[in-house]
Symmetry: C2
Subunit: 340 residues, 2 copies
DNA sequence: TTGTAAGCGTTATCAC
DNA sequence: GTGATAACGCTTACAA
């Protein structure tokens, strides 16, 4: 049976109040008292019951990180940084996987504040506008959106400039002389803003270079897994004329595309150049290594946690938008030869 | 202000007891009563406060999954399955990252039961015997070890037969005619059993084939990241005679090794064959695709959760060992040509 | 079948 | 600076 505050109080012959003061680091406790209590704490190997504390204070010290699939490298690398930064701020992280299940997302967004399980939610990509509206009206849970960009002043956002990132990636492909530039990652679901913005950036880059875009060059991808990129790339390669470059909306899609091009017996980047977005570790070691747009997840994690911590302290704080920097990383999949 | 049980009771003109019965699905509630209460619940949009319930029942419905680094693909893929299976069992999952920090592991193992934050712990690899001993004496938190194999009847284990898996991987390399077989992944830390068992399996396979092993062929790796595999492979390739095959203790190490061999201008598998362990998705799409030992993480996740659920219900249940099946997956990195 | 009330382990409000 | 005591929201004996 674990020791409670009362046990410590009795053991040290003081009141529970005093023990609580010592445990929570209250200032005005005499040195003698503190020592006496600390001794009892050590002797009984006491740890505060976090659940009881939560019931009393309303704070759990836990943040929820909601992602579609934790095993998609971008999300797991983001999770790594989020967990680390959260620890610095005194938070633990509970990871919720929605698995693209809208009902689950809804339940999380609308019911989370009443379950009292966490102090705030970090919500990554796949949220629709409609869900946010509902959430806003039914919950007072602090929320920070990661990766969404369309800012309307009502939710905190931390994200890169998606349109610009896509535009920069496409510009890079143009700068190395490609003209038949395909894209993989447009989403059937209209309400997700991220893919829309990336498509807009892709089209903007083509337009400014005077390249007329062909609709068949824009391949959708239901999810952002390697298999989706593989399938989409195969479809693209079957076209005639086939593309001489592919811009993928995520690195994972790009890894699938890389393999599809390889299977088709074509050379990268000679026949087809490929660029992604995310800068996952996998792309630094693949053969060829993957050109990409780097996102600075530590930056994103830091600002997201800082924002949510601020919002927990002051629920009425004004919504803020943080735009994370991005930069194009040129690697072998767009420049250089496959044969070393 | 969220509605409480008392609010619902007042609204429905019944006692809190009755509302509680309805909420928790108690059998003996009259139909009329249930409807009346449900109406009030819906009208007030009531959700039970899980923290209060926990304080009362001692159950949080949360499991901790402890891993060294969540962004190592094996762990994130394991986490995906664990979260999904846990949901089926009515548990949520909190992920804790130890970052190879022993103090953090210790604190988690010894302090977890008193914080009352979760009902049980799924502990993946990097635990030492000594830590377990301490944990055992100071905590009554249900614990299931994932990936450890040395079974002493005191802790629940779910793991593959590490020795056999390593032996099978090495045998495969021998079966394709390789004789200078190196290994990457031995750990400087003696107390971790997994790498020790893999080394034992590697050596057993060499011995049974009558191959004298050279100590320089056994490369350590502090962690199991791509960069570690890359560095270790470079060291191996600098040796003379250089190995004609490399067995990596994890797929992530293998991905790094793959790239190192590529950078050295050697061909896979012609000059050097490579095999890993884990069967991460990355290895199915890499070029060349990675031969590996498949672990069946859904199986592992399922049995781990089932075990811990059983142990939560009956703390005195006998410790059990579940050996997960494994199988060698032959892909391009050991058989076939790099040029399609 | 339903109501009443105690108590889970904290923190916070009041006195002293 | 420290001590008693009420509350946080829920579940569950025990009564009715």
């Amino acid at each position: 049976m674990p020791a409670t505050l009362r046990d410590v109080a009795e053991h040290a012959q003081v009141s529970m109040r005093t023990v609580s003061n010592v445990v929570s680091g209250y200032e005005h406790v005499s040195e003698r008292m503190r020592e006496r209590v600390q001794l009892a704490i050590d002797e009984l190997d006491y740890r505060p019951n976090l659940v009881a504390r939560t019931l009393r204070t309303g704070r759990t010290g836990v943040l929820a990180l909601v992602v579609p699939e934790i095993d998609v490298p971008y999300f797991s690398e983001l999770a790594r940084d989020v967990i680390n930064v959260a620890a610095e701020f005194g938070f633990r992280v509970m990871i919720d996987q929605t698995g693209h299940d809208h009902e689950r997302e809804r339940e999380l967004l609308t019911g989370a504040d009443r379950t009292m399980l966490f102090d705030g939610i970090l919500f990554s990509p796949l949220v629709t506008k409609a869900e946010l509206e509902e959430m806003n009206s039914r919950s007072s849970m602090p929320l920070v959106l990661l990766g969404e960009h369309e800012f309307d002043g009502r939710y905190d956002h931390v994200a890169i400039d998606n349109l610009r990132a896509a535009q920069d990636a496409t510009r890079h492909l143009i700068s190395i002389g490609r003209t038949r530039i395909a894209a993989i990652g447009a989403q059937p679901m209209e309400s997700y803003t991220t893919p829309q913005q990336r498509t807009a950036g892709y089209e903007a880059a083509l337009a400014e270079a005077g390249i007329t875009r062909s609709p068949s060059m824009l391949q959708p991808a239901a999810h952002y897994r390697r298999a989706d990129g593989y399938a989409a790339a195969r479809t693209l390669l079957a076209q005639s004329p086939r593309p001489d470059a592919i811009f993928c909306y995520s690195d994972t899609l790009a890894m699938g595309a890389l393999r599809a091009v390889f299977d088709a017996g074509l050379r990268i980047p000679d026949d087809i150049a490929i660029i992604g977005i995310d800068d996952i570790e996998e792309g630094r070691f693949s053969s060829p290594s993957l050109s990409t747009v780097s996102l600075d997840t530590p930056f994103i994690a830091h600002h997201a946690i800082a924002r949510i911590a601020a919002r927990i302290d002051d629920p009425d704080a004004e919504a803020e938008e943080v735009v994370a920097p991005h930069s194009v990383l040129v690697r072998e999949s767009t420049v250089g030869s496959t044969e070393p």
